[in-house]
Structures are given as C-alpha cells and as structure tokens.
C-alpha cells in the first residue's frame, strides 16, 4: 500500500517515568487503540541480572529531564519519516530498578509488518545512542557507571546509509 494512504503524522506517545509498567497491559492497550493498523511490533528491554560476568543487584538510571522527552520524540519522528507508521510509543523508566524489571518498551504500528518491524528496531538503535540516559550498576564488584558499547554505535550507524 502506498505511503500516502497513511496519515502524515502518526500518533506519537512518549512516557519517561519512575514507575514500573506492565508490558502485557501496554500491548493490550495499544492493540485497542490501533486504529487502522494491521501490525504492531513491540520490543521490551529488561534490566540485566548479569553484565560482563558480574552479578547485578540494582540499577540506577539517571536522565536529563529537560532533554529526554524531546530526544525520544525526535527519534519517533525520524522513524515516522522513514516508514509508514500509524503510531509509535516509547516508554522508558528512570530512577532505581531491580534486575529482570522492564526498563524500556517500544511499540510501532503500521498497516503491514515490515515497516513496524524495521521502525521498532530503528527506534531502539537510536535510543541507545541518542537518548540522555546513563546506567549505574551495583554489582558484586562495586558500583560503577556502565560504559557505552561500540556495538551500539555500529547498530545505529547502519541506518544512515538507507534511504
């Protein structure tokens, strides 16, 4: 189906919150809201209980309150410009989290699965390198800030050569 059949501006929902969320409930709500979408792709990121061999007992997530929402909204808009989407949502937590808790959820809605899948992956890749969040882990070997990974930069860079 050609792109012009879709609304020019898809519905974008950005939530940055300290409170826990339930991915199942979010997906149910999104399905009920998905006006005209035939496909929803979703991604849920969980707090790791092991990182580089160390047992993680707690995670603190710092963010830049004035910028976070703006940065996530920009990423959702960039995804909307690249693919035919009816809706994009990003939910991201901050503050104190415990291992295995959901930390991030992205849902992308489209008429067909291809655009929804690609956009969901793009949003996560850009979020990992552009959204102002920083993780500090408590592990068996002490408390430390998590280092950025080169593989995340490469994952984000691969979208730049695509039309």
């Amino acid at each position: 189906m050609p792109a012009q059949d879709f609304p020019r501006s898809p519905f974008i929902e950005i939530r940055v919150q300290a409170e826990a969320f339930k991915p199942g409930e979010e997906l149910d709500r999104w399905c009920a809201l998905s006006n005209g979408a035939g496909a929803i792709a979703s991604f849920v990121g969980l707090v790791r209980d092991l990182n580089l061999g160390d047992q993680v007992s707690a995670l603190h997530l710092e963010h830049y309150p004035g910028m976070t929402h703006k940065a996530l909204n920009l990423i959702a808009e960039q995804a909307s410009a690249k693919w035919s989407l009816t809706a994009v949502t990003v939910i991201h937590r901050f503050g104190d989290l415990i291992p295995t808790e959901p930390i991030v959820m992205v849902m992308t809605s489209s008429a067909h699965r291809g655009d929804a899948f690609s956009a969901c992956e793009f949003v996560m890749d850009y979020l990992k390198t552009q959204a102002p969040f920083w993780k500090r882990e408590n592990t068996s070997s002490g408390t430390h800030w998590v280092e950025a990974r080169e593989s995340d930069l490469q994952a984000a860079a691969r979208w730049e050569n695509q039309p």
Binding site: Y64, K128, P132, W134
Partner: protein, 84 residues
C-alpha cells in the same frame, strides 16, 4: 547568562550538576564554553579532560562542539549515553 549542566560520571567528577556563567562575546561556540569550564578549577580540568569522550547538548538537543552559543542558552556535557 549561560547555564552549564553535567550528568552521570561527569557530574560526579566535576563535583556539581549545574553552573551559571556570565555570557561574554568571547565564548561563541560550545567548544569555547567547554574550554571556559575546563579553566574553572583543577577538578574541572581533569573531569573535562580532552582525553575523555564526551557528548554535548545545546538547549536540550545533541550538538557538535562547533555550534554557536547565545545568551540564555543551556549547554550540557555528559558521557556517551547508556539507556535502553
């Protein structure tokens, strides 16, 4: 006036999360603001050392160090992000 904010490991290394500086004509780019901050103290110089990889935001948007700064702007310096 220019507002400068620091986050995460950089905030801890500098020892504060926010600073206010009078805007001057000689500080026209984000890079010049960074140099100005480095000159504040030995702790600043170490925290913001050129050997560290850092990112900058101008008015809550990621920016290059060459971006122009105006009176009233908010500039932030922080390490590469690690969310998601």
């Amino acid at each position: 006036m220019i507002t400068v904010r620091y986050f995460a490991s950089l905030r801890e290394a500098v020892g504060q999360d926010i600073e206010y500086f009078n805007y001057g004509e000689d500080v026209q780019t984000v890079r010049a603001v960074l140099d100005f901050c480095r000159a504040q103290s030995k702790q600043h110089a170490e925290a913001l050392s050129i050997t560290k990889v850092l990112r900058a935001a101008l008015n809550q948007t990621l920016t290059s160090l060459e971006a122009q700064v105006a009176d009233g702007d908010e500039i932030a310096f922080f390490p590469p992000v690690t969310g998601g």
